[in-house]
């Protein structure tokens, strides 16, 4: 056990962190923009956003391969313009993590932005505040508990991503071998000790995240009921 290569741990944390930051920013902005508006096609757009949650990760991986592969419409452009291939690179790991974890963030953010009285924002507008100021000083802080819950779920989901990552990024030691992939290939090669190590580590990380999230929501729920 002493010669365990910890690269999957750092790679997983690095990937999940970057994916979470991107998903948080995009998810929050999209949810804020879409949540309280009604327009034609809204349901269709929201269904597309939520799709990775219900699709098997291999299907998500297949679709991503279709988009980012050598002959995919984005993949081909990236190769032509920048001589850059996404598939089987670390960027593929990040893309897979972003796509599969996005619905969790979007759903949490949407709920967070819908749970408070819209007149709170309207009141701020009547006091002369710009849209930007209202977002930063009113909407975001009020929605923060829900956004934080989404952030933790997103990180946990990104950390645990397997199927789509394997389809798009493959298993390349020190490049795309996140913890879930390391577990699968350790078992595959009969190295159960190694697999056990990664399983214990990821269960501990996941459990700690959920424990903290539950503690936080409970604490916050009490505070929230006081706010009403």
């Amino acid at each position: 056990m002493t010669d365990i290569n910890l690269s999957p741990l750092w790679l997983s944390i690095k990937t999940a962190t970057i994916a979470t930051i991107i998903v948080f920013i995009v998810g929050v902005l999209l949810a804020r923009f879409i949540a309280r508006r009604s327009f034609r096609g809204k349901t269709v757009i929201e269904s597309i956003f939520m799709l990775p949650l219900v699709l098997p990760p291999t299907v998500v991986g297949f679709i991503l391969l279709y988009i980012f592969g050598k002959n995919g419409f984005i993949g081909r452009l990236l190769i032509e313009w920048f001589d850059f291939q996404v598939v089987f690179s670390w960027y593929a790991v990040i893309i897979a993590a972003i796509v599969v974890s996005f619905p969790l963030m979007y759903q949490s953010a949407q709920a967070a932005f819908q749970q408070y009285d819209p007149n709170v924002e309207h009141a701020a507008y009547t006091m002369g505040a710009s849209r930007f100021k209202v977002f930063w000083t009113i909407s975001f802080p009020i929605a923060w508990p829900g956004l934080l819950a989404g952030l933790v779920l997103t990180f946990a989901r990104a950390l645990g991503e397997f199927g789509a990552t394997l389809m798009l990024a493959g298993y390349i030691p020190n490049v795309t071998d996140t913890i879930p992939l390391a577990i699968y290939f350790a078992v595959e090669s009969g190295n159960m000790e190694m697999a056990k190590f990664w399983v214990i580590l990821i269960v501990t990380l996941g459990f700690a995240a959920m424990l903290w999230l539950n503690w936080w929501s409970k604490r916050n729920m009490t505070a929230h009921s006081n706010h009403k």
């Binding site: 009285d117 309207h122 701020a124 009547t126 002369g128 710009s130 000083t137 009020i142 006081n226 706010h227």
Partner: protein, 209 residues
């Protein structure tokens, strides 16, 4: 002075109102769903009428089809029915959010007897106190017009009585046009210089002093 002449198609009827108000209190009175809040929201700039004109102190803040001054630039105070205080800010931070001058805000807090609540959060104060904080917050921006959407509906009788007097005193001190929406006929009689009765989008003036 405020002049409103607007039309807006709502789900069951067309809202069609026209009135002019000097520095007086107009009470908009009528059954639920008659379009009262829509009138307030149109004046505040939260929604856009289909056609017409809204002028405040001689300036068009809405004039179909081209003029639509954004809500932030209308200088209109709005007290919402549920007060809409910022739950994560103290009373003082609520009031100073849009305030133009600190002395005026302090004077308002004195007048409304909410000085001692400065450091409290909205969930820590009573309904009557919330209403006074929301009123102070709406007035702290020194608006040219004040809109009140059923400001007293959640208060008990004794608190409501005190609040009526407070509103009349504030109006006496800072003469600006006020439009107040209410369900209560007695409240309308007590407070309004004008009582505008709105039913299914159509306005009738019941009282004019």
């Amino acid at each position: 002075m405020l002049h409103v002449a607007i039309k807006k198609q709502l789900s069951h009827f067309e809202l069609n109102v026209e009135f002019t108000l000097n520095n007086e209190i107009a009470v908009l009175f009528g059954p639920s769903g008659s379009g009262k809040t829509t009138v307030l929201n149109s004046i505040a700039g939260l929604i856009k009428p289909d056609q017409g004109i809204i002028q405040l102190n001689g300036q068009s803040i809405y004039e179909a089809p081209k003029v639509f001054v954004p809500i932030q630039k209308r200088h209109i105070g709005y007290l919402f029915q549920d007060y809409a205080l910022f739950p994560h800010m103290t009373v003082w931070n609520n009031i100073k959010y849009g305030m133009s001058n600190i002395e005026f805000a302090e004077q308002l807090m004195d007048e409304l007897k909410i000085n001692h609540l400065s450091e409290h959060y909205p969930h820590q104060i009573s309904g009557g106190e919330k209403q006074r904080v929301a009123l102070a917050r709406a007035l702290a921006t020194e608006p040219n017009l004040l809109l009140l959407d059923e400001p007293f509906s959640a208060l008990d009788d004794a608190t409501r009585e005190v609040s009526h007097k407070q509103l009349l005193r504030l109006h006496h001190l800072w003469k600006i046009p006020i439009i107040m929406v209410t369900h209560s006929h007695s409240e309308a009689e007590k407070i309004g210089d004008h009582i505008l009765y709105l039913d299914k989008g159509h306005l009738t003036e019941l009282k004019n002093i």
